[in-house]
Subunit: 176 residues, 2 copies
DNA sequence: AGGAGCATGTAACTAGTTACATGATTGT
DNA sequence: ACAATCATGTAACTAGTTACATGCTCCT
């Protein structure tokens, strides 16, 4: 159900079409909750029925019409109510960790290569986050931006932790 | 499809019934891949049809019969082949992060409480991992245990990173 | 007498993925 | 001519969750 909430947060920040949301879910908010356009359109339809969002058709020239969604008062209430409920503490669910765990039954060389790939990918993501932080939050953070900033900080710490772990593994595996 | 691989890894370590696997998925391997017993029985059935595992009915006295699953040669091949393929780099998918991101639209006090709850939960998990590491790997780690050890190291780093992030948030929010 | 543990399932549902579909405009 | 961007969907499928079901033994 949390795609609904992610959409509500995104629309509370700024109204958008399904297409706009899809792009947002490819970056910013999508860094910690990804969604395909198919899923987004499906959920938007359900949310419109539930009066959490309302749609307005906007005609454009040279481009197809679009349905711009706006959060409703009900939607804002739902969002606030949701923040009051305790969030279940999530467990990790990692394909990669399962594979590491099964290392002894696999191909050691291929796995070292794969660990290196992951290291590079996480380094890339970290660089992206750091650039983003430097660009958007060079000084004090406004109350309005605090949530986005804190999540970005979480992303940075996560990527750093991953890189440290991946490096630790590479070091251990190099000496065998 | 990765529950299959998680089960293969677990059965490669030691044969087990669906019930045994369920308990394992409540601890050890379940720390980074959780699964319900319903899902486990369903997947075991599919895997048996695909000859990745084979079952033997074991009669017990004072307890119900059980079907003990063993990994087959095909299963071991599948596991090895899987380790050779590159693992897609996963993005985070976090309800909690979405909620933090939407902080400005929610109840600040409730969220501070929730962050505290998460902090405690992650501290508890970290303590558990540290005790596990101290108990099982006080000295050198054998080749056989390396995968499990490295994943445990990953878990420790992950929990530490989370706690640091949660503390950072609590500190920032206390001063507003 | 009641609850916890052992043991295995079915049924109904929700969320999410993958593949396919359409059609206009703008840039190379 | 061809690809990319804008824009919105349907259809078929897979994975996972929640609720329900059964029945025996051991412990308090």
């Amino acid at each position: 159900m949390s795609l609904e909430h992610a959409i509500l947060v995104s629309l509370a920040e700024r109204s958008a079409s399904g297409y706009d949301l899809t792009r947002r879910f490819d970056k910013s908010i999508g860094h910690f909750w990804k969604a395909s356009h198919q899923q987004i359109y499906k959920v938007l339809g359900r949310m419109e029925k539930g009066d959490l969002v309302s749609a307005a058709v906007v005609e454009q020239d040279g481009r197809p019409d679009k349905r711009v969604y706006e959060i409703t008062a009900d939607g804002r209430h739902e969002l606030r109510d949701w923040t009051v409920l305790p969030t279940p503490v999530e467990r990790l669910r990692s394909d990669f960790a399962v594979k590491i765990r099964g290392m002894q039954f696999g191909d050691r060389d291929a796995m070292v290569t794969d660990i290196g790939r992951h290291r590079d990918a996480h380094q890339g993501q970290l660089d992206f986050y750091l650039a983003d932080a430097a660009k958007h939050y060079p000084g004090d953070v406004s109350d309005e931006d605090l949530g986005a900033y804190l999540v970005l900080r979480g992303g940075i710490r996560y990527e750093q932790g991953q890189i440290e772990w991946l490096d630790e593994m590479l070091e251990r595996l190099a000496s065998r």
